[in-house]
Structure formats: C-alpha cells, structure tokens
Symmetry: D2
Subunit: 339 residues, 4 copies
C-alpha cells in the first residue's frame, strides 16, 4: 500500500501516518518527492480496507493499493491453469472447448429432452436449463423448481450430457446439488456472499457469472469466497457488462478472457446469449470467444424461441445452433484445440 501525502503536508502529519502504519502491523518506508512525500506500508495488505481508512487522516491525499486482494484465485499463487471436472466425462480448461447449450428455462419434460437431444446431436457436451429463475419482475415465470430439476436429470440420463443449472437461494443449494452436475451463480447473485459461501461447501463445481457492474478484480474476489470455503472447482463466466450502449442488451467483454488468463488459473467460459441479448449476434461472438482463448461457451438454444417463456429474443433455433457448431470447430482447430 502506498500512502500519498498532500503537497502541503508537514512532518507532524507524516509522523502520525507512520505511527498508524506501525500500529497496524506494517513497516513504513518514506520517499521524499519533489512536491510531496509518499509512504510505503510494507506487509501483506489483503485486509486492505483498514489501511484505506488512513485516507481520513490529516495531510493524506490518497491511499493506493499495490497488491491484488485475492490469493487462491491468483495465478501468482498457482501458476498452471486449473481444470474443472463436471460429471464423469467433461473437463473444462483442457484442450477441448466445452459447449453448454439448452433453453433459458425448463418448461416441460418434452421441451428439455428435445433440447438435450438436439444440442447433443449438434456437438454440445453439456446441457443447460433453468429450474429456479431469477426474474426482474415478480409477475414473470419463476421456474418449475424441483420439478424442473427432475426433468433436467431425466434429460441427462437419456443423453449422457451433464447439466448446469442456477441456484438462487442458500436454502436450496443442497437440493440443487443433489440433482445437478454443476451449479450456476447468476449475475445478479454474483455478490450474494451468503450464497457464495454456501456453494463453497456443496462439493459440486460452480459456474460463477460476472455481475453486470463487476470489475474483474471483484469477480475474482467472488471466486475467492467460494474457494475459501474449500471448493476449488470454480469456472468463471463472462456474460456481458452494463454500459451506455443499447444496441445490445449488455456489452460482452471479450477482453476479459486474456485479462483473466493473465491474472487467474481458473477456466473461463463465455455466455454470448445474455452478453448480446439477440440471436443474430450469438454465433459471431461464439467464434470470437474461442479465438480469444475461452475454455467454453454457454449458449441458449430453444426448439421454439418465439414461444419461450423467457429470453426468446436471444435463443438460437436448433438449426442455427448446429450450423454455428460446424463453423466453431474450425476456429477451435485454428487455435490448436477441438470441440
């Protein structure tokens, strides 16, 4: 941590800061600059907000953190990329790009089984589908809940595709973990710390979505919450951030892929369906994500999107999904990987 003193700050202010730094267990180190002094506080600053409070001291202009606040998620701590296993057969973070596909919501047994068959045929290796739906409106369809989980499990049994589904409440984590192969934390719950802690104890791999206004650093701190409870099976999912642009539902931040690859060992998956909100834009963003090095994709596919009970505008029809997968294979190969 670097404490920047004000231009006019005197010895007395500096002495107070030095004293406080020592009290907090750090070692102070003063640099006398041409217009102002800066004071380094040497030590492990992970509990950084305490040092941040020095900003309230007389003569202090600002406090600048130096260290990243995450440890377990950091590529400084673990250098090799992590691989996360889902079910018996799928590995996220290896040389095969993992494609998770399926409808936004589970609507009926037929719908989810048909979806699973279609996406498997096209080459997907995991099924997605929502049973507990976090909806902006209390009047919108909220999901089939446990019935939906059962349908997902049946679709898995019939097709062999492990499935990922969202959990929205600490109370239902155990229930969802009983059925699902991977639990998803949605963007709106990405800083629901009670839920993060709970899934950190569930024993199943977690697909953690980035919040709409979440910095990369905060994203890794949320992963850290899960990991600090003992669950190292965390996969990070970029799904678009909120910006001023309205041509797309969100702005898909594909530069998050190389940034995360530099800062963490955890695998990275991209969700172009929520990221763009429009089926026209999904395929190009799938290609781009794989070219940029994403370990996987999660894509909304619905047998009849015009009649979907949620997210119809961003769902691919099965035919379009199959065509996308064919071309996607070429990009994976150009990157030395496969589907």
């Amino acid at each position: 941590m670097i404490i920047v003193m004000k231009a006019g700050a005197g010895k007395k202010d500096r002495d107070e800061v030095v004293k406080r730094i020592k009290e907090l267990g750090y070692k102070p180190h003063i640099i006398h600059g041409t217009t102002r002094d800066v004071i380094g506080a040497i030590g492990d600053e992970r509990a950084k907000l305490v040092l941040q409070s020095l900003e309230n001291m007389h003569g202090v202009e600002s406090v600048v953190p130096i260290l990243q606040p995450y440890k377990l998620a950091s590529s400084e701590v673990k250098h090799e990329p992590s691989q996360v296993k889902v079910g018996d057969s799928v590995v996220i973070g290896g040389s095969r790009v993992v494609v998770m596909a399926g409808p936004c919501s589970v609507e009926s047994e037929e719908q989810i089984i048909e979806s699973a068959r279609l996406v498997k045929e096209a080459g997907a290796t995991m099924l997605r589908g929502g049973a507990f739906k976090p909806r902006t409106s209390p009047y919108s369809f909220q999901g089939l809940e446990e019935e939906g989980l059962k349908m997902l499990a049946k679709a898995r049994d019939l097709t062999g595709l492990p499935f990922v589904t969202e959990v929205i409440n600490p109370e239902t984590v155990d229930l969802v973990a009983d059925y699902a192969d991977m639990l998803q934390i949605g963007a709106r719950n990405s800083q629901n710390f009670a839920l993060l802690k709970k899934v950190g104890q569930c024993g199943k791999p977690i697909l953690l979505k980035r919040g709409m206004a979440m910095t990369i650093q905060e994203f890794l701190m949320s992963a850290e919450y899960i990991m600090s409870e003992g669950n190292q099976g965390v996969v990070l999912c970029e799904r678009g951030i909120r910006t001023f642009e309205t041509a797309t539902r969100n702005t898909l931040d594909l530069s998050a892929i190389p940034v995360l690859k530099l800062k963490t060992h955890l695998p990275v998956v991209i969700d172009p369906s929520h990221g763009t909100g429009n089926y026209h834009y999904v395929a190009p963003m799938c290609y781009a994500a794989v070219a940029a090095g994403a370990d996987g994709l999660i894509v909304e596919v619905h047998p009849d999107p015009e009649r979907a009970s949620s997210d119809g505008p961003q769902s691919l029809k099965p035919k379009k999904f199959a065509a996308m997968m064919q071309k996607l294979r070429l990009f994976a190969e150009a990157d030395g990987r496969s589907l």
Copy 2:
C-alpha cells in the same frame, strides 16, 4: 407493446405476428407506415418478456414496450406520496427530513452507543449500523452478527433512536426483524429475489438500496417484489451508480430523486457516503439531496474513522456531522420542510 416490422417484411410475416399476438391474448392493431409497418398489441403487457419473444419471428425488427412493468409501486396506481413509519416516532415521506446516521459497522458496544449519542445530539432521528456485513473480500471483517444486533438494540433503548440494519440472507431475516426497526437490503442484494420475497413477509419497513448497475425501472421492480408479498413499507435509497468516473467511488445519481417522485409514490432517501466514498464530498451532497426533494438521508458517522473496521474514508467525524446538520436545516427550511 409495439412490434416494429422490418422495412422489407411482407404480408405473410405480418399475418404470423398478428396471429401470435392474438394467441397471447392481446388485440393487434396495424399501422401502415411509409417505410414499414408497426403493430400495436393492446392489453396488459406486464408479463412483457413473453411478447418480447416476438423479436425472434421472421420480419420483426424490434419490440418496444409501452407500459411500465410495475404496478404497486407506480404513481399511476397510487397518486399520493406514501409515508412509511419506522418505530413509534419516525415517519419517512412527510414534512420532516429524516436523517439516519451512524457507523458503517457495529464494532463494540461502546462504539455504537457513543455513535448513537453523538448523532442524536446533532439532530439525527434514526441510527444506522451494520451487524451482518456484505464484504467484497472473504478476508475482511464480516460483522458481529447477532451480538451486533443486541448492541444496536441497546443503543436504541438508551437514545430512543430507532435503527436500520442490513440483512444479507433469507435465513436471518426473522432474526434481524426481531431486533431492528427497519431492514436494509444492500446494493449487492438489490436483485436477490429470494431475499426480497422474504423481507416482503417480515412485517418491518424496508430500506431498499439501488444496485450499482440498476436502472430506475429495475429498482422499482425490486420494490414491486417486496410489495407483492404484502409489505407496502418500502423506502427507496439511491447510493451511487457505477460509471467510468474514478474521482468518486460511485456516481451519486441525484436526478433519481425527481425521476422517482414522478414515477412512484414511495419515499426516497439518499446515501451520500457510499455515493461518493469520500468524506469531503458528503456534506455538499446532503444539502443537494434535500434541495432536490429527498425525504431523508443515510450518513456514515464514526467517532474515530481512521480506526474504523470498514468504510473509514467516507465516514464523517461527529463534529463535521454536527456542522453539516446545522447547515442542512437551512436547506430543509428553504424547501418548506424541517429536520
């Protein structure tokens, strides 16, 4: 809902859309434009995402919602401003500006009691303090939990100030409601729908903070979640939104005050401490909020901010708070109100 057809769309596309509109229970109404047609779907469109799915139909360019999706929170449904009572003595939404003040976190009995006395003396009418803390880092202080609630209750009993405190987990709603006069939903939980539903059943008034990337419309939808469970005692709290600007921790959106006053009957409170993240900027934003018509303020005050275990940089010292309150009174009076 207005369905905008593509420039080249033909009769067949239009017929399909009209048919689908009818199936969904709306009445279609076509306007033939000079370059394209638009089709109105007449009916109550609150379950709007279903209609949104028409964007996936052939020949459709976009679907434009007309109605606001909230009802109970809407000023169209209830014209007079609502007043929310907290404890026996405080009314939010009347002619007195309500000031809630206190430390970010409850740290000890002495600290919270001293804080309560100091803020009361300066004119505050409610106490704030966190017992369950949603912290970005799992390694940061997470709050004193039930012990903290007991200390808050003691501070209330000694000073007569009702208190508001945050709840972060559906499981602890009942516990918090046993002690607190008002429950706070924090920005990071503003779309934690499981939590919103639960506090909708708790019988205590709710201070609902706006999420960092939440539109006004989504903010009102979160209020609607609480209200639709039977709890009409919702107070909306603007606390800064996330933008590109880094000179302040967030960008305090004071224009949310007149926007909310137009769209809803619910009272509006401003949090300039989180909104700016810097104690230098808190007082001017308090004055501005009251001048713009806010029904109340929530302000972080700490007896020793340099030693605060959270949010020190944005906490006012008691002397500065008292000075702020004196000047604030003049702005309240200029607006025909009082403190």
Copy 3:
C-alpha cells in the same frame, strides 16, 4: 510515479528499470516489499506517458501515477477560488449565483429577444442561445450562424444581458468572439484540442463543458489546454455524463461540484437541461446544484418548447422558469449567497 514490479521479478529486471528511470531524468528509490518490490521515480512526472511506457519492460507489473497532470488549473498551484468576469457586469465565482438562460437555438430575432426579456424579468443575469449547432444528424437544423450571432447581440443590447454561445470550429472562433461575451465549448468538442488551443487565444472567457465520457481529471486537462495558451478565464460546466441509465438523457454528476472545488480554483456551473434531458427534472436539479455549491447554472428556456427546433423536451416554459427562480433564491440564501 510508482513502478510496481511483478512478484517473480529479479535483480536484473529491477536494474533495467532503475537505469531507464535515470535516463528519463528521474531519481529512483526502491522499496523492497514482502511479495514484490516497488520503485519510486522522483521528479516532476507531468509528461507522464513516457514513464508509463515502462509498463512494457520485463518484470514490470504496472506503473501508478502519483501527481495530477494539470498545473495551471490546480488548486495546489493557486489556492484562492478564481472569479471570471463576463461582459461588464457579471462575475462567475463570487457570492452571486449566476443564471444563464435562453433557448437551445436562436431561431429568429423575435424569439431570441422575447426569450432574453423573459429570462431577464425572472432574474437571469446572462443569456444563452446557439447560433452554430453541433447536431448528431446532418439532416437536423444546424443553426443560423452569423445571423444568429447578430440577433444575440441585439438581444443583449436591448436587455443588458451578456451572452454565451457555442463555437464549433477553430475557423469561426474569431467571428464568434467578435460578437459574444463568453464562448462555449460543447461536450462533443471537449477534447477537440485544436479548438481548445484556438479559444485559448481569443481573449474572451470560456464556458467549457465536460464531455460525456470525460473523467474529472481529463476535464481539468482540457481546461489546462485553454489556460496554457494564456486564457485564464475558464468556467467549468458539468452537463451530465453517459451511463447505463435511460430514465434521464444523461446522468447529471453533481458530486463533480465538491470534487472540482477541491481540485481546482476555477468556477463551476451546472447544466441541468442537458444533464437530465427532461423539463420535469430541471428545477430540482437547479436547487440541488446551488445547494452543493455551484457558482452558476445554465438553463434552457423557450417561449414555445413544443415548437422548438431543438431540445424541446428539456426546455422550461418561461412561467416555470420564473417559478423556479423564486425558489432558487431561497436555496442561494440558505447557502449565504444571492442570485
């Protein structure tokens, strides 16, 4: 400037950085931390991007600037608030809040003269009106140009109100400066450096609007451009920044007032008309701006907004403007100032 080394960086990397720092004329100062070293570069870092290039050196994680890059605009260099004189009678930055009012565009002689009379009667001390209009669409009304300047001058001569008007091209700066009492640089030209340099030489005071995606620091750098050409008469105008919120046209950043008051000596004016884009929200934002310490306001007032050739939705009718001014007076007085 602080250079943060990577955790694994060795002596060789450090030596190279130290050598480069010396080459650039700074004095290096190493702090050995627990997990990594940081190196201070002592000296005047205003030409900071050169040091920034050290980020490309082996072993360097990041380069953190310490000094603000502006000098002439800085409150560290000039401690007392500046006052900017406009015409013979108006001073911006003193104990009187300056209100500039008038239509978005000059449309006719009658319109601008009528506007000037109405706003003067209500208490405005300056007239505003656009003769050169920067319009998003090439097909929109582009302003009356020199004819418009003549009409503004006539309105000034009849009412005694000095006027501010926008200049959009270096070539027409001299022309506009011949007529106008104050020149406005619009948000879209706030980093049009050729224009900034030119108005820095024009001898008239400048109203510099903040760009839609401009940080406070960049805003002050644009002021610095004007001042470095010799023109110290710069007034800063916050007019809303671009965020994800769509309920308002922009998000008016009123916290910019105390931030600027801390960092610069230049006066600050608020534009709630562009800031909100909706006449309903203008008056509350005027009150808030003055309560927060703004030195002035610039407000769109049109005798017949429904027929305005630009910005009708955000223009006040003269009656509403007069009512706003009456109440505004009370807030100015609560702040110890007057209109």
Copy 4:
C-alpha cells in the same frame, strides 16, 4: 414515431397532439389501449428531434422513435457490403483481412521506415502512424506535423504500403490528404462535425473511429455526416468504449462487429491496441475480431516500445506482431478469408 399518452390524458390532450402532428406534416393514427392511448405519426421522421418536442405537450408521457435516423449508411438503403479502396492496392471489405500496423506516433525517419519494413515483412498491408497527435495533456508530445507526413510518405514509397494517419483540424485536412492514402478521424473527434464535413469533401477514404461514449447509432450518424458531403469511402473502426472496468484502458466492444454488419454496408475495422491499452491483450483480441467477421485490424507496433513517445504500454514489439500474424492467418482461413 410513436407518441405515448399518459394514463390520465383526455380527449383534449389527444386532439392537441393530433393537431400538432398534422402541422408537422405527419399523418396521425390513434390506437386506444387498455390503460392509455398511443398515437402513431406516419411519415419520414429523420428530422426526429422536432417530433421529440411533443414530449413537452400536456398529456404526453413519451415519444418513441421507430426509424433509424441514418440513410446513406444504412443496409436498408444499400444491401451489398461496400468495399473501400485505399491507395492502388488495398481493398477493405473484401475476402482479405486488411492489417494496418505501425507506431502510435511518427518519431523520426528511421523509426517510421524501420517500422514499415518490419510490419510489411510480417504481413501487414497498410502502415499507420500519427503526425498530428491529439493528446490529453498540452505538455505531451504533439507530433511532428508536416515533417511526420513526409516521413510517412517516404516509408510508403520504400515499402509500397499505403498509410493512414489522423487529421485533427479542418484547416489541415487538405494538407494531410495531399500526403496520406487514408485519413483517420480519432475517437475524440468522432462528433467534431466541422471536421467530419470537411473530410467528406477531401476525396480520400476515411477511417472513422467510434467515440468513447458513442452509441452504434451515433457512430452511424457520424458516418452519415461524411457520406452526406459526397464521400462514400468510410470505414468504421471500433476502438473500445468507456466503462467502469479499469483492468483494460477501454472495453473493446467486439459485438459491434455483428451489430454493424446488420445495420450498415460499411466495412468494419478493429483497434485492439487502444481497445485494451495493454500489449498482453492485443493478440487474442486480433484473433477474436477476425473470427467475429471484422474486415480489418489496426495495430500499434513499435520497434522499441519502452522508449515510445506515446502509447508504449499498448504497442507490440515487432517479433510479437510477427508471431501474432502467423496465427491470425489460421483464423482468417477458418473464416474462409485470407490475410
């Protein structure tokens, strides 16, 4: 244009709106809804801000535009993708991905010639380099101006690579057009309408960068400015938008590629150097851009980035650029194109 009436609006309000719609030359069409009426205004609404002024009428809630305001740039008007020729040999928008590469600034004859040779050898087909530099700070290096243009011309003559360079002032458009093969409008001038009009008359192709806070629609309106002056040779360049994320200098919006491909016939180029601001992230974003369908790339390459006088942190060293180009070729081929 759709005019949405308030819930309580009566016949009188509606009649006034209908009357005003007719006055403005549109044909009104009323839809009576269940809770409110909406009125369609049939006709060409390109001069839309005039209709927008109806928002100021009594009983009107909002005015919703239906048509896109651009014509010449629209894919509705011209269906086939446009190809833009640069110099004698380069075509942007065809089956070859065009790579423009070179240093941020021209610093010396040796530097630009060496850069040109190195990027050509690696497979680039155009040279980039700045002679007029728009710098945030007046104290930063402002470019070699005409001397820089001469050096660029010499580098072109020696290597055969046509070059693109920025123009920042209407006064110097003719000068720059005398030397350059393509003129660049930078992000900060993307709504400098005086400059856009001027380059619309210069007879050379234009590389138009998207502004940092510019919507796709505004981007196309800026292209429309150039095209409406007679210059159809416009290439659109996405270079990152400004968001809350600070891990990258900007957020590169790659979804702009498919959005633009849907809405316009103009070619699209991506600038990952400014888009990310960090050389680590440039190569993956190049691959992603080509996979998503970009027609070209513009990349900063500097023989000695640590000593660059601008933008060192985001410049590739020639070796890294050459390695990137090798891999890029594979992605272009996967997309059925070549370099």
